[in-house]
């Protein structure tokens, strides 16, 4: 039942004629209270969907900002169970904003796939992205997630060719995450022109909304991608603000939320501008 939150969200935004702004933060980073202030402030700042990172000791697909965020979270003692507690607490004040957990397979495997699916659904999780679990290995995880009503969200990448795409999209729901560059998070920036056809291809093959992420750092860039994609994911840029705030000994939450507000505004305005230009 929980994946309805994602479907409802995208249906509403389609009605509004705009893309979703997806904000990524790491669970418990930099400390549980600050992290919760950020998380609970994101919807009001304009985040339509929240991706909540589950920290892992060996995040192979992450660039330095999210690697460091994971280390900070682990130092705070964040576990799978504590991440789910955070979602539970968030849901007490927010029943509508979809939450997608993003992480690596081993902590989920360690928890047990079935137990994890049941607990995550009960906590109010709507979707799950597992970076190191390609479709070839996903069935044992997809079964309990489907049963619990949690979307297993798939990643399509520039190396996913037309032949492979159907396999990638099998058993997926909610939305598809298009990784716009071959690389780790938060480093390379994709060429907006190159993203367009790829997003079209994935959208046509899946019939699902397509979110684009990796390398989107500024409101201008978010706006450009929002004209093409159904959702724009920003992670490293937000997480890096936490690192900067810590270094400057300043409170992190206001910085992150201000940046989220600017990004959300840019996403909201992007198609409006286009509409007015067209008119």
């Amino acid at each position: 039942m929980t994946q309805q939150r994602l479907d409802t969200c995208f249906a509403r935004l389609k009605g509004e004629g705009r893309a979703a702004f997806v904000a990524y933060v790491m669970a418990g980073d930099p400390d549980p209270q600050t992290a919760f202030d950020i998380l609970s402030g994101l919807p009001a700042a304009g985040a339509d969907i929240i991706e909540l990172g589950m920290p892992f000791s060996d995040p192979m697909a992450e660039g330095p900002p999210i690697q460091r965020a994971a280390q900070r979270a682990l130092k705070q003692g964040i576990t799978v169970a504590k991440t789910l507690d955070i979602v539970r607490r968030f849901r007490q004040g927010d029943q509508t904003t979809p939450i997608v957990l993003m992480g690596y397979l081993n902590p989920i495997l360690s928890r047990g796939y079935e137990r994890f699916a049941v607990e995550a659904a009960e906590a109010g999780v709507d979707g799950l992205i597992v970076v190191d679990c390609p479709p070839e290995e996903a069935d044992p995880l997809a079964d309990p997630l489907e049963q619990a009503g949690i979307s297993l969200i798939r990643l399509a990448t520039p190396t996913t060719d037309a032949k492979r795409l159907p396999a990638v999209l099998r058993r997926t729901s909610g939305f598809v995450y298009y990784v716009s560059v071959a690389g780790v998070t938060g480093v390379k920036e994709a060429d907006a022109d190159a993203i367009g056809p790829a997003v079209e291809r994935v959208r046509a093959a899946s019939g699902l909304p397509v979110a684009v992420g990796f390398g989107i750092k500024t409101p201008a860039r978010a706006a450009a991608v929002a004209r093409i994609a159904d959702a724009v994911v920003v992670g490293s840029a937000l997480v890096e603000l936490i690192a900067q705030a810590l270094e400057a000994n300043q409170p992190a939450a206001p910085k992150v939320l201000a940046s989220a507000r600017a990004l959300a505004q840019a996403v909201r305005d992007s198609r409006r501008h286009e509409a007015s230009i067209r008119a």
Binding site: N106, P107, P134
Partner: protein
Amino acid sequence: MTAQARPPVPNDYAAYPDAAGRFGEFGGRYVAETLMPLVLELEQAYAAAKADPAFQAELNGYLTHYVGRPSPLYFAERLTEHFGGAKIYLKREELNHTGAHKINNCMGQILLAKRMGKTRIIAETGAGQHGVASATVCARFGLPCVVYMGAVDVERQKPNVFRMNLLGTEVRPVTSGAATLKDAMNEALRDWVTNVEDTYYMIGTAAGPHPYPAMVRDFQSVIGVETRAQVLEAEGRLPDAVIACVGGGSNAIGMFHPFLNDEGVRLIGVEASGHGLDKQHAASITGGRPGVLHGNKTYLLQDDDGQILDAHSISAGLDYPGIGPEHSWLHDVGRAEYRTCTDDEALAAFQLTAEVEGIIPALESAHAIARVGELAREIGKGGVIALCLSGRGDKDVGTVAAALGRKISEV
């Protein structure tokens, strides 16, 4: 917890992995989607090369004339006398070019990379042996090479860093995480995912996503194939046991694999128990549980939440919190036995071998030597054991000197 009751014993141990790259429940291809097409391409390219007599002939030519194969099987008379049991033979992989078994695999992979049209090589290294072997073949075949090495290992293996530089390789110190081998592997994977067009990732052990565990095993199986023939020639029969150290486990699986269906031959892997199994160690099978890391499902050192723990071994080459998936499977089906050896026991075996055989073994190989004595007595006189002496210990003299409280000037 995914560990189950002991899986069924197969009819043909050598028939694994299956089409999905699995050894029972272990192995697989747990990589990011960006890498999946690359891993599948590699699988096809390797299958074609493996079946191509021209590829095998070229590889064998280099193994003979460049690496120096076959390596001798040497009857260690004085070690045998010292322990007073079964005859101990040493498979002298330390006599290969670059001083360890690592070159067997690198030679195979560089020929494959060239065949695939790749123009840039990346590798990870712990002690630096695989890094040096990678740098060596890249120099020989004229390809640029980047080796990722934990900053901690760069510090404790300076001579190997310089060796790699001499061979024209760029060594990139990795400061993320614990700054050791597992972090170097993370960083190599990050490089690969960023440079998908031209780059070949030369993994140094029989681990990682399929086809690496099977491919590296195949390239290292020359160890066991030769040993099997050499023991037959020397003794007129197969050995009672073969024994090798296990970190990622490439020398061990290379030694074991040609004996898998010889069920009378015991296969014994020795893991590094570091400061002790109740303290910091690197014994993934003995002290870990199954999980997923670096592209494969295997035994791992991890906490209750599935976070990977830092390993410890005095030997940098065994200092890894995982093990190749075929070992995990051989353990679970009961075909191979895994024992452990502490830092102190390895140090004692290192010195003993130097003193009675005139051979300075790598600290990695010393772990196997430390367990061979009781095995020799267990099997008894009249028995035959073959031990894989996977590398020479020149690289370790600094570490050993420090452990013994002696000072030597740096190389």
